[in-house]
Amino acid sequence: MLGEGILKGMAETAKNFFGSYVSKERLTTVEYPEERVPAAENARAFPFLVYDGPDWQAGLRCVSCQICEKECPPKCILIEKSKDKKPDYVGKPQFYPVRFDIDLSVCMSCQICVEVCPFDAIKMNTEFALATDDRFGGLLFSREKLAKSNEYYHSIHPTEAAEVDARLAEEKAKVEAKAKAAAEAAAAKAAVSASPAEGGN
């Protein structure tokens, strides 16, 4: 019968239309912005810099090794290395960035900077509503704007942040144990070198 296929199709649309009143499965529209779907845990938008402790300038994990600057595919990162050094989380003196700019209008959210960073200093933010009316400087983020606390990192990517913290704590413990062993060895050596002098007396 001519028109049978059309009627079958209409029945299908009718099923979907009336079904949307009873079944949540069929009602798929989300009324943004009143209603929002929570972001997936490892959703990514743009990078930010992680710092430990209360002061962002002192606690910035970045040691300005410039690997991310080199690896960034669209080259949206600009880093200027410091002349002096400051202690990092294990107490080792390291350089720090005097300038760390990311041009978010160039960034393509590929996450390669995060992958290559050996210090877990740069991570992906989930904030995406960054539209601005300033065409030239509005999306050029400096290190003040990029710095976010470790607590913030925990709030957006809890699983990943816990892993990173565990890894950093392990490294710190290793370094401390090594330092302690070195100190003990030095003390023992000092004691050994001191004892013949005593014997000599």
Binding site: N16, E71, I112, E115, V116
Partner: protein, 391 residues
């Protein structure tokens, strides 16, 4: 002018172009530039169509509006830095693009992805195929005048697949997930359960989609016998993917090349008989069903283990001098990456074989003799993405 005679608008220079005369002298021909802003061109693409009344007697595709210098950029950056750019080739199927590029570099560097990574790759590639075919059919129907409904049904399902992609890779479309020698992150048990649940609902969607469309008289009247592509012409012009199989040529790289672990799964390759638009539609629908079968088998037993080859390293990656060609059956056809390494961190030559571009070269032969309205449909049935055509 100096005599003070008023110039009529039609006498202005360049206004009155000489009319194109039909070869047999029947009358004037009309040249129409369809695109680059025409809504049916799926992007920025122009067709210079020569018309005799409503009948097409010539068609010249003009592309390059979206050229982004992809190949030269890749020759200036490291191997890894090209991976996010491959997402932007065919932006509907970023994961299969990733896979093709990773496969080429793995061949070049002698890496091998571990078992678990292979399973994850197959799962992601087949999910990509389903969402691509669903939306390709949706867009075809949109061009046909079925405003919205089939496209929205396709996008409802695509949305669920993109949610899965987002949970695993962090992004919905620009996934940037596969790496040389494996995958970037491991899929959690929760994600696999979510995928199983989603795949269990897919046959229902395809049934619904088919009930809506396959026997629809308007669709059949508009597509059957229109835009026929003969198998010998298809083979000679290098057409691949669902376009080639709709013409009846049994050629699927998953069966021919056995790349990845496709030889472990049971699936059939649907073939068309007439090579018209309806066959292309039907082949895509049947391929969705076969993809669901592959997904069911792959999700049943994903082995435990690492997802990265221990030999692989992300920084300081320099493959030995040599060349490699990696190709996969992308949803649109054979997607290949040809790489030459000279031992430096950058490839010496980087070439993409885009299925969209090569499938598009046949457009004029399919359109000749049809109406303008059919040109839109034939073009839609090729299933292209301009990001891949122009690169």
């Amino acid at each position: 002018m100096s005599s003070g005679v008023q110039t009529k608008p039609e006498q202005l220079e360049g206004w009155n172009r000489p009319p194109v005369i039909a070869p047999e002298g029947e009358g004037e021909l009309l040249e129409v530039a369809m695109g680059p802003h025409h809504p049916s061109t799926h992007g920025v693409f122009r067709m210079d169509v020569t018309l005799d009344g409503e009948r097409v007697i010539g068609l010249k595709p003009v592309f390059g509006y979206l050229h982004r210098n992809h190949e030269k950029i890749a020759e200036q950056t490291s191997y890894l830095a090209s991976m996010p750019y491959t997402d932007r080739l065919d932006y509907f199927c970023s994961l299969t693009n990733n896979w093709a590029y990773a496969l080429a570099v793995e061949k070049l560097a002698g890496l091998d992805a571990p078992e678990r990574a292979q399973y994850i790759r197959v799962i992601l590639a087949e999910l990509t195929r389903i969402q691509n075919h669903a939306s390709a059919v949706g867009f075809l129907l949109q061009d046909m005048g079925a405003s919205g409904t089939p496209l929205m049904y396709a996008f409802r399902e695509r949305e669920k697949i993109l949610d899965l992609f987002e949970q695993l890779t962090g992004a919905r479309m620009m996934c940037n997930f596969m790496r040389f020698g494996g995958c970037r992150v491991d899929a959690t048990a929760g994600w696999l359960d979510g995928a199983r649940k989603m795949v269990a609902g897919l046959p229902n969607f395809v049934d619904e989609f088919e009930a809506l469309l396959s026997t629809n008289e308007i669709l059949m009247a508009r597509t059957q016998g229109v835009g026929v592509l003969k198998p010998d012409l298809a083979v000679n012009t290098g057409v691949s993917g669902p376009m080639l199989r709709a013409s009846g040529v049994d050629y699927d790289l998953r069966k021919v090349d056995h790349y990845g672990i496709y030889d472990r799964f049971q699936f059939r390759v649907p073939l068309g008989e007439h090579g018209d638009i309806y066959d292309r539609y039907m082949v895509r629908v049947l391929e969705m069903r076969e993809s669901i079968r592959i997904l069911e088998q792959a999700l049943k037993d994903v082995p435990a283990g690492p997802v990265m080859d221990p030999k692989a390293k992300s920084r300081g990656f320099r493959p030995k001098p040599g060349e490699a060609y990696g190709r996969i059956e992308a949803p649109k056809g054979e997607l290949g990456f040809y790489l030459i390494s000279d031992g430096t961190p950058n490839p010496y030559r980087y070439r993409v074989r885009p299925p969209s571009l090569i499938n598009l070269t046949i457009l004029e032969d399919m359109c000749l003799g049809h109406d303008v309205a059919d040109v839109v449909l034939i073009f839609g049935s090729v299933d292209i993405v301009l990001g891949e055509v122009d690169r």
